[in-house]
């Protein structure tokens, strides 16, 4: 290589390096598809990343794990690196680096339950970020505390659900008392006509019932187990 050639190459590298961090943020936005190479099983991973009001948002699809449109959390994008997590039972972390053009790839690690596997994602199009459903308001007559009992595997459980309306939708305090006092984190409350649902996706519990004749008549679902449950207003 001649001296002029070397100088030209150095300039090119310096320009590339100077541009990359600022471009990287734009380049990261998009739909990314690829595989995590876990032992004896390639796991398909689809990540959607976008910027919204100056902040990163995203969602993930993992067909092999029943994960579809789950929101990304703790998204950190700095220079060429992007890291994020998927909370809930699956508990995933991805630490990725944007490879310089013409690679157009995000490569790094896929971590879950202490296991780590290499992952490479290729940009395949614009982002299609999914947003989780939002809680709706509930009817005025539903506000306050409702109670009921159900039996599972020979043991009685006492249930209390306390509804409250807020400007951005309803909330519910969902408590199940068996041999332990369990306060379930509720992430979704909705009412469609007389059908009311309360979901704790993190704990795998949900209640669904119809508000009729002053009672909430329906079922509680724990994982795949569905048990009839009638709630009445607490005295």
């Amino acid at each position: 290589m001649t001296a002029a050639g070397a100088l030209l190459r150095l300039i090119t590298i310096l320009i590339g390096a100077a541009v990359l961090p600022s471009q990287a943020q734009d380049l990261m936005s998009g739909r990314w598809e690829g595989t995590a190479r876990i032992p004896d099983d390639d796991l398909n991973v689809i990540v959607d990343l976008a910027q919204q009001n100056g902040a990163w948002v995203g969602s993930i699809i993992i067909p092999g794990l029943g994960v579809k449109g789950t929101p990304l959390t703790d998204i950190k994008a700095e220079a060429s690196d992007v890291n994020f997590a998927v909370k809930g039972p699956v508990g995933i972390k991805l630490n990725l680096r944007l490879l310089p053009p013409p690679e157009n790839k995000l490569a790094g690690n896929f971590e879950q339950a202490g296991n780590r596997a290499p992952v490479t994602l290729q940009k395949t199009g614009p982002p299609q970020v999914e947003y989780p459903p939002r809680s709706t308001p509930v009817a005025k007559e539903l506000e306050g505390e409702w109670k009921g009992d159900y039996e599972i595997m020979g043991f009685t459980r006492h249930v209390s659900i306390k509804f409250a309306n807020h400007p951005d939708g309803a909330t519910a305090d969902f408590v199940i008392v068996g041999r332990k006092h369990n306060v379930l984190p509720v992430d979704l409350v909705s009412q469609e006509s007389d059908l009311v649902t309360v979901d704790s996706h993190e704990m795998g519990f949900s209640f669904e019932g119809r508000l009729r004749d002053g009672k909430l008549t329906g079922a509680i679902r724990q994982g795949a187990i569905e048990t009839p449950l009638v709630l009445v207003r607490a005295k």
């Binding site: 032992p39 099983d41 879950q112 296991n115 595997m153 020979g154 994982g223 795949a224 569905e226």
Partner: protein, 436 residues
């Protein structure tokens, strides 16, 4: 006089030796299933003496007689292997998986197979002596089992993994069957002496003490039956679970010691029952976690472990009061074996654990190679079952496939056998191991 004393000593030693050898030739040692083995046991792990490959998983527990190890394979074969070298002496094919533990008596190997036949082979040569056809094997099944979906679908239980292991006494061989019967056959000819009908699958192994057979059925009852006549002495009702059929059935096999029957149950209790009356003496409840392990009983203590909660327990044999409670890493179906001052137990994450008899502390463990590969991330990095990767769906075949994945990592369902300082056990990786 000295000569006479010497003769008595020699006779006693011989009798003890005979007892020690006999106590290794049936599931859980002998007919009472105490799970206690005489002689030395390794407090430290030195090496793998040998490992013997088969064509499929090994759920059966090895037994020992005259320096030969016998076991069944899910490849359909029954094996005789040199205990010292691990060399195959003979194998005989059945027409189905054989996840039962054989019993050896009077030069004969007795074992049942999923082909619905019960076999008697010559222990030295493997030659078939006779075989007996039951009404056919099947697994426990129920609609919406364990919350699997669709809930109106009848689903065979993937955790019903063992077949009943026989017990032999007084010229009769006894075993349970998926057809719901407990059978008593002439051990020399295979002729039916009697059969006792229960309401569902009998895959627990009968224990025999004082002329009475003790065993549980998936119909939720535990039975005591006269060994000579097949007449019921008493029955004990375990828990029921009409909704998802998860907390029902006796899969654990009992141990009978000092007039008390100890048995685990899927209703998550370990029960102590009066052997004469069937009255409950005490129970240990395990928070909806199955007790599949057959309890071992030694030194006034009962040793057992649980499935989902993965707890290793030692309780007082008279009262059920807790003595030791140790948190394990994964489900335990394998039954604890007491050898000298060590308790050995297999774990479904592919680990054999050796624990101190008194404290329950882990002395050493051995992980089968297949489990270290952790294909498909079935295990977390600390070797617990990785829920999200195993069971993200309860629909259709997904839970069954997840169980199969669990099994394929080399889970140890087999109950360890301890002979002369060596521990023998099978693994779902398809090998039988001899560790010293």
């Amino acid at each position: 006089m000295t000569k006479r004393i010497s003769k008595v000593v020699v006779l006693l030693v011989t009798l003890c030796a005979v007892r020690a050898i006999d106590a290794q030739s049936m599931f859980r040692g002998d007919a009472t299933h105490s799970g206690t083995y005489m002689g030395p046991a390794p407090r430290q792990f030195h090496r793998v003496r040998w490992k013997f490959p088969t064509g499929d998983r090994v759920i059966s527990s090895p037994v020992f007689k005259d320096n030969v190890i016998y076991f069944g394979g899910d490849d359909g074969n029954v094996y005789a292997v040199d205990a010292a070298t691990g060399r195959q002496i003979w194998k005989r094919a059945t027409n189905g998986p054989a996840p039962a533990t054989p019993a050896i008596a009077d030069g004969t190997v007795y074992i049942g197979s999923y082909d619905g036949r019960f076999y008697a082979f010559n222990a030295q040569t493997g030659a078939l002596k006779w075989k007996f056809a039951t009404n056919g094997e099947r697994r426990f099944e129920a609609k919406g089992l364990h919350g699997m979906q669709p809930k109106q679908q009848t689903i065979a239980d993937p955790f019903d993994i063992y077949l009943s292991s026989p017990v032999v006494a007084n010229g009769t061989v006894y075993f349970g069957s998926g057809d719901g019967n407990l059978y008593a056959l002439d051990s020399a000819t295979g002729d039916l002496r009697w059969k006792f009908k229960t309401g569902d699958v009998v895959h627990a192994s009968p224990a025999l003490a004082d002329g009475v057979l003790f065993f549980g059925s998936w119909d939720s009852y535990f039975y005591a039956v006269d060994a000579a006549t097949g007449k019921e002495r008493w029955r004990f009702h375990g828990g029921e679970d009409p909704m998802i059929h998860n907390q029902v059935g006796f899969q654990s096999s009992p141990a009978v010691v000092n007039g008390t029957v100890y048995t685990g149950c899927r209703d998550s209790n370990l029960y102590a029952l009066d052997a004469a009356t069937g009255k409950e003496k005490w129970r240990v409840f395990n928070d909806l976690s199955w007790v599949i392990t057959s309890p071992a009983v030694a030194d006034g203590k009962v040793f057992f472990a649980t499935s989902d909660s993965s707890l290793y327990h030692v309780v007082d044999a008279n009262t059920g009061k807790p003595i030791v409670r140790q948190q394990g890493k994964a489900y335990m179906f394998s039954s604890p074996a007491v050898g000298s001052d060590v308790v050995f137990i297999g774990v479904l994450n592919g680990t054999l654990e050796a624990r101190d008899l008194k404290t329950g502390d882990l002395l050493w463990d051995f992980k089968v190679e297949k489990s270290k590969e952790n294909d498909g991330w079935v295990l977390t990095s600390d070797r617990k079952f990785n829920g999200p990767f195993l069971s993200h769906s309860n629909w259709r075949e997904a839970p069954i496939l997840a169980t199969d994945q669990q099994i394929r990592l080399g889970g140890i369902y087999s109950s360890p056998l301890v002979v002369n300082g060596v521990v023998y056990f099978g693994s779902a990786d398809g090998y039988v191991y001899a560790l010293e």
